[in-house]
Amino acid sequence: MTEFILGKYNYWIYIVLMMTGFYAVIAKKNLLKKLIGLNILQTAVFLFYISIAKVRGGTAPIFLEGAEVIYDNPLPHVLILTAIVVAVSTTAVALAIVILIKQAYGTVEEDQILEMTEEG
């Protein structure tokens, strides 16, 4: 039981982080806070990928001449580099849209925007 909770603590952190982000995306009315939630969610996924790459006693995957090294699986690291790039671009596009929304509506609060849409 302790092994299940403490031994896999990185996965627990991933789940807690993911749910925190997910909650923020769904529940927050402020468009920027939603984005922060999305970022937390994405970071949680990065942590998950890094966790599955870990090999017990492993070290950085660098090839040493003549030495037997146990190293972590580098593939998830590479995958997550791609996903980080994607997350950065998503955030960039989203922030650009939020700036335009602020210019067009004068607010970034979802309920106020909804009110204005219904009036118009």
């Binding site: 995306v25 996924v45 996903a83 671009s89 998503t90 650009a96 849209i97 335009l100 925007i113």
Partner: protein, 505 residues
């Protein structure tokens, strides 16, 4: 040279996308010419690819020569080649159409960037279809989605921004779920190649990790397909996007996601897993039936034509998923045909709406009064596509619905047969409303001061005439294809049959 064709389908539009904004600095119109040429090349290459597949059965391209499962593989079989042709062909048709529409709806200094984003969108769609690597699929999914968010935000009204933002949030959630599903699969199999995964997974069917991965994929791709109740991003996104963007998205966006859905369900996880382990088909069956009915009913309630077509898309997605859920060869054949047919029909309908926006600046169904006389060719195309949506014989809509009904009868699901017929009736209701306005209601002359300022092209309604040739041709071609494939459906049928036999192996 010939063996590099699969990668060129992706590389040509991708690299052109980089060149287009630079070309637009030299001369604005160059951007459009480059877009046109590269989509034409991409389209030609994918038809050549389809012919190669028909000759040899399968094309496998190894990126930089790395042997799969270590390297990324582009695996093209009947299914991809078929969807790839639809995507690139519509990408080309809409590119032809875009010139006038974009001149009208997009600010001039933004056209270069607009075409670049358009090309990225098409690249992403083609990439999702062609790749045989599941992580690569995620990357292309994000390329196409990010380009899509930007394209929607270009729309003139400020509602376009909110629609784009909402799509971004939901779309990113969907992509994150796909990414997580990929991670879970990698965790237990150590592989990312779809064919390799398919070989490794049967031994792990009992694993909770694999089952969780499947759930992530279904939800993630479900958002992208806009499967009810995950469809909420779609209506506003289609409504407020510029006309050309609505057309390409409605025609290809959800279809490509549906392809990814089919690919992951049948090729990666396999039919045994889908049917016996998780009973996905029952869930999908219920959801798709609700989608078909709810989409149609909501479409009837709309006054804005773009929104009506968007809700109708939700019910059409229901058809595609229904065929998958029935899980018989006939049903899946119906789904695959409906991917092609709905792309043609909905593409054509949105193109006509774009032409109306170009000439009048209006999108309310009321405003279609008397347009049948003023824009005879466009409206004839609209009528053909609308009849095809309803499923009138001799049009493509009839062919795919025929197979779906057959599949429902084969499996003995009579309520589903009733739903299919009822939804055709509902579709007849909402399309008839438009056709009635087109041909049987005389035009009303609105007071000049009530006309929106964006209608600068025709301050006088008497000047409303048919769309310019560049907008008319793509519309007419897609409408003509609706009839041609409706009367002689043998070519798409033959390809779909082969694809089904590969999927249900």
């Amino acid at each position: 040279m010939r063996e590099h064709l699969p990668i060129l389908v992706i590389i040509v539009p991708l690299l052109t996308a980089l060149a287009v904004p630079l070309a637009a600095r030299v001369k604005r119109i160059l951007a459009w010419y480059l877009t046109l040429i590269s989509t034409a090349v991409s389209c030609g290459l994918s038809f050549d690819l389809l012919l190669t597949v028909m000759r040899t059965g399968k094309v496998s391209y190894w990126l930089s020569g790395w042997e799969p499962p270590w390297g990324i593989e582009y695996a093209v079989d009947y299914l991809n080649a078929f969807v790839l042709c639809i995507v690139t062909c519509l990408g080309f048709l809409v590119a032809v159409y875009a010139r006038r529409s974009v001149e009208h709806e997009v600010e001039e200094h933004r056209t270069g960037v607009f075409y670049a984003t358009y090309l990225l969108f098409v690249t992403g769609l083609a990439g999702i279809v062609i790749t045989g690597d599941i992580f690569n699929l995620y990357v292309f999914l994000e390329i196409c989605s990010l380009a899509g968010y930007a394209l929607i935000a270009v729309g003139r009204k400020r509602e376009a921004l909110v629609a784009s933002y909402n799509y971004l949030i939901l779309g990113s959630l969907g992509a994150i779920f796909v990414l997580l599903g990929t991670g879970y699969l990698y965790m237990v199999t150590g592989s990312l190649n779809m064919a390799d995964l398919a070989a490794r997974l049967p031994a792990l069917y009992h694993s909770k990790v694999v089952q969780t991965a499947f759930a992530f994929f279904v939800i993630g791709l479900g958002i992208k397909v806009a499967l009810f109740p995950l469809h909420t991003w779609l209506p506003n996104a289609y409504t407020y996007a510029p006309s050309a963007v609505s057309a390409i998205m409605a025609a290809t966006g959800t279809k490509v996601a549906a392809y990814a859905f089919i690919r992951v369900m049948f090729t990666v996880f396999g039919t045994d897993f889908v049917i016996y382990r998780i009973h996905t088909t029952q869930i999908l069956l219920v959801l798709s039936v609700v989608a078909i009915l709810a989409g149609s009913v909501l479409a009837i309630a709309q006054t804005n034509i773009k929104k009506m077509l968007a809700y109708s898309s939700i019910s059409q997605v229901g058809y595609i998923v229904l065929g998958i859920a029935l899980l018989t060869p006939t049903g899946i054949k119906g789904s695959l045909l409906h991917i092609l047919n709905h792309a043609l029909m909905k593409g054509c309908l949105f193109l006509v709406v774009g032409a109306v926006v170009y000439r009048t600046g209006l999108t309310s169904i009321e405003d279609f009064k008397g347009l049948g006389k003023k824009m005879p060719v466009s409206m004839a195309a609209f009528t053909v596509a609308a009849l095809s949506m309803i499923g009138v014989p001799l049009t493509v809509g009839f062919v795919s619905k025929w197979y779906l009904v057959l599949a429902a009868i084969e499996t003995g699901l009579w309520p589903v047969v009733a739903v299919l017929l009822l939804s055709s009736l509902l579709m007849a209701v909402y399309f008839w409303r438009v056709i009635d306005n087109l041909y049987f209601v005389p035009a009303v002359e609105p007071a000049p001061e009530l006309r929106p300022s964006s209608a600068s092209h025709s301050s006088n309604p008497h000047e409303v005439r048919d769309a310019p040739a560049l907008m008319l041709w793509p519309t007419v071609i897609s409408a003509a294809l609706c009839v041609i494939f409706g009367i002689i459906p043998f070519l798409p049928l033959a390809v779909a049959e082969k694809a089904v036999s590969i999927l249900l192996r």
